[in-house]
């Protein structure tokens, strides 16, 4: 049961990343690999600030997100103002961030033992002890209270991020941002500062990635410079699985779908690991999975085309 709660919690924490990937992948139509660096940046910044004890857990999350936003904005500037291919701009910033993250932490990982994080703060408010393992019975299952509160907090976090993004994309600014990704020529002709839209869109996407990283570090109790590795593919998998689960493409459902996709994917991974999958194969299987999810709809289209052709010739 503890494993299941942890699966849900991590799935929810990474769904914040998935929502960010949704912006770059579905609004601007490219996979922004800056997210991997931003996630690690968020984790590094959060870990260092938490151990320094100079800011409250909430402030730490905001600063981490702001750092991610700066990274995303940099990718946006490289892409729009210096006309560097979006994918390459992301790779450049991600690579640079690896060194930045090492400098931020001063070493390759930072442990957060007995530090006050957003999760321990939440436990404190709910009067849940950090040391004693209290449990509660939910429909016959024994659930650790700490696990439950962490899952609850992650759910609140994912919900707030998802709702904020949903509301933003329905504003005049948000609609202009979507138009920029959908048809740049049209947006520009209607007076939208398209460069600014791309820059701020990527800033939001990477702020979410960094926030996800900060939450992940707080939850796991450590930050590692490698924490972001493979996370973009993870985000893509979540978005794609979500789209398969929820076939509607409206904004609200797309965001909900990304969150669901993230939880579902984490669940699949947990099950696979439980049944003896070699953890070393995880990234390979994730990548193959995303590849298949990308290819299968295209194959479906081709089949339909050939079918309609056959019908016509008949």
């Amino acid at each position: 049961m503890s494993l299941l709660m942890a699966t849900f919690t991590i799935g929810l924490i990474l769904s914040v990343l998935a929502i960010g990937v949704l912006i770059s992948f579905r609004i601007f139509n490219f996979a922004d690999i800056t997210s991997e660096g931003s996630l690690a940046l968020g984790a590094s910044v959060a870990a260092v600030l938490i151990t320094s004890k100079s800011f409250g857990p909430f402030t730490v999350l905001f600063i981490s997100a702001a750092a991610g936003a700066a990274a995303g904005a940099l990718t946006g500037v490289l892409h729009t103002k210096f006309k560097i291919n979006a994918l390459l701009a992301g790779i450049l910033v991600m690579t640079a961030l690896y060194s930045v993250n090492l400098h931020v932490m001063g070493k390759s990982n930072v442990a957060l033992m007995n530090e006050e994080t957003i999760f321990t703060l939440f436990n404190k408010h709910l009067s849940i002890s950090e040391t004693v393992n209290e449990t509660v019975k939910i429909s016959g299952f024994l659930v650790n209270l700490k696990d439950l509160s962490s899952a609850l907090l992650s759910l609140v976090g994912a919900f707030v991020c998802g709702l904020a993004l949903y509301l933003f994309l329905k504003t005049k600014l948000g609609v202009a941002m979507r138009a920029t990704g959908d048809n740049t020529q049209m947006a520009s002709a209607l007076g939208v500062n398209t460069d600014l839209m791309v820059i701020s869109g990527l800033a939001i996407a990477n702020a979410l990635a960094a926030l996800s990283g900060a939450l992940l570090a707080s939850y796991q109790g450590f930050a590692d410079v490698q924490i972001g590795l493979g996370m973009l593919v993870w985000g893509l998998a979540s978005v794609i699985i979500g789209e398969t689960l929820v076939r509607d493409k409206s904004i609200g459902l797309a965001i909900t779908a990304a969150v669901m996709g993230s939880i579902f994917f984490r669940l699949l991974v947990a099950i696979a690991l439980r049944f003896g999958m070699n953890p070393n194969d995880m990234k390979l299987i994730t990548a193959v999975f995303v590849l298949m999810a990308l290819i299968i709809p295209e194959l479906g289209k081709k089949n339909k085309l050939t079918e309609s052709r056959i019908v016509k010739t008949n």
Partner: protein, 270 residues
């Protein structure tokens, strides 16, 4: 109100693909006038329109709109004064957004976009009325994605969007050329009524002599990046499509003469 002073633009300079698209175009357009630009393929007529819209930077020359120098102004800032409809019916709308959302983007042309909801009920009601005025039955499909509509419907919506906030200048770039004749005629009729209703200053590029003769109060012919004819007032009214065809024939003859004359000169003198 629109003044073009000595515009020059060469694409791909110094390469074999060098194109002198504008070579010294000067033109002044009065407020409320409807100017039609005619020219053969590659004559520079679309380039002229794009120069006004600001899609590229000029090599030299000055563009003034309402006495304000807009030469260095980026495209999206000029859009505050300029409404545009493109040749490709798919260029002017965002396919994966609903009709209402597209109109919402257009309704903020020239205004500051903030964090207020894009589709308030008041705005939606306004959009409903405007779309209804197209008489295409699209007002009941405001929440459908524009990508599901036909080219003609999308072009009609693009025109509506370009004029949603009255533009100082309307740029039409062969906007009916890609439509079938019936739909094209409908969009053209719509164009005429919109322009008359708001007394818009219009700058239209076309291939069609018939359109040029029927519409507008001034015809400008462009050839090799230069203005070669300019008819307005009574001259414009007296023009028949046949006169324009003859002018085009004359251009063709000129083009034929060039290499021919070269050969003769070579044979005689080299």
């Amino acid at each position: 109100m629109l003044k073009l002073i000595n515009l020059y633009k060469t694409f791909n300079p110094g390469t074999p693909d060098e194109v002198r698209a504008l070579s010294g175009v000067s033109l002044s357009i009065a407020a409320g006038s409807f100017t039609v630009i005619l020219g053969t393929n590659g004559s520079g007529k679309s380039t002229l329109l794009n120069a006004v819209a600001g899609t590229f930077t000029l090599d030299s020359g000055v563009i003034e709109l309402d006495g304000r120098d807009i030469t260095g102004m980026p495209e999206y800032k000029r859009a505050a004064y300029i409404g545009r409809v493109f040749q490709n019916p798919f260029s002017g709308t965002a396919p994966n957004m609903t009709i209402a959302e597209n109109l919402s983007v257009a309704s903020m042309r020239g205004k500051t976009r903030g964090f207020s909801p894009a589709l308030s009920s008041a705005a939606a009601a306004g959009f409903y009325e405007r779309v209804k005025s197209l008489n295409m039955g699209l007002e009941d499909r405001l929440d459908n994605n524009i990508g599901s509509l036909s080219g003609g419907q999308r072009q009609a919506l693009t025109l509506l969007m370009a004029c949603l906030n009255k533009p100082r200048l309307l740029l039409l770039d062969e906007h009916t050329a890609a439509l079938d004749p019936k739909t094209g005629a409908k969009v053209l009729e719509l164009t005429r009524s919109v322009i008359e209703k708001d007394n818009l200053t219009t700058f239209m590029v076309t291939h069609s002599m018939q359109q040029a003769v029927n519409l507008g109060d001034r015809i400008i012919m462009v050839y090799k990046g230069k203005l070669i004819h300019d008819f307005s007032g009574a001259d414009k009214k007296a023009l028949k499509p046949r006169d324009l065809y003859e002018l085009f024939e004359e251009i063709k003859r000129r083009e034929l003469i060039d290499p021919g004359v070269c050969d003769i000169l070579k044979a005689n003198y080299v």
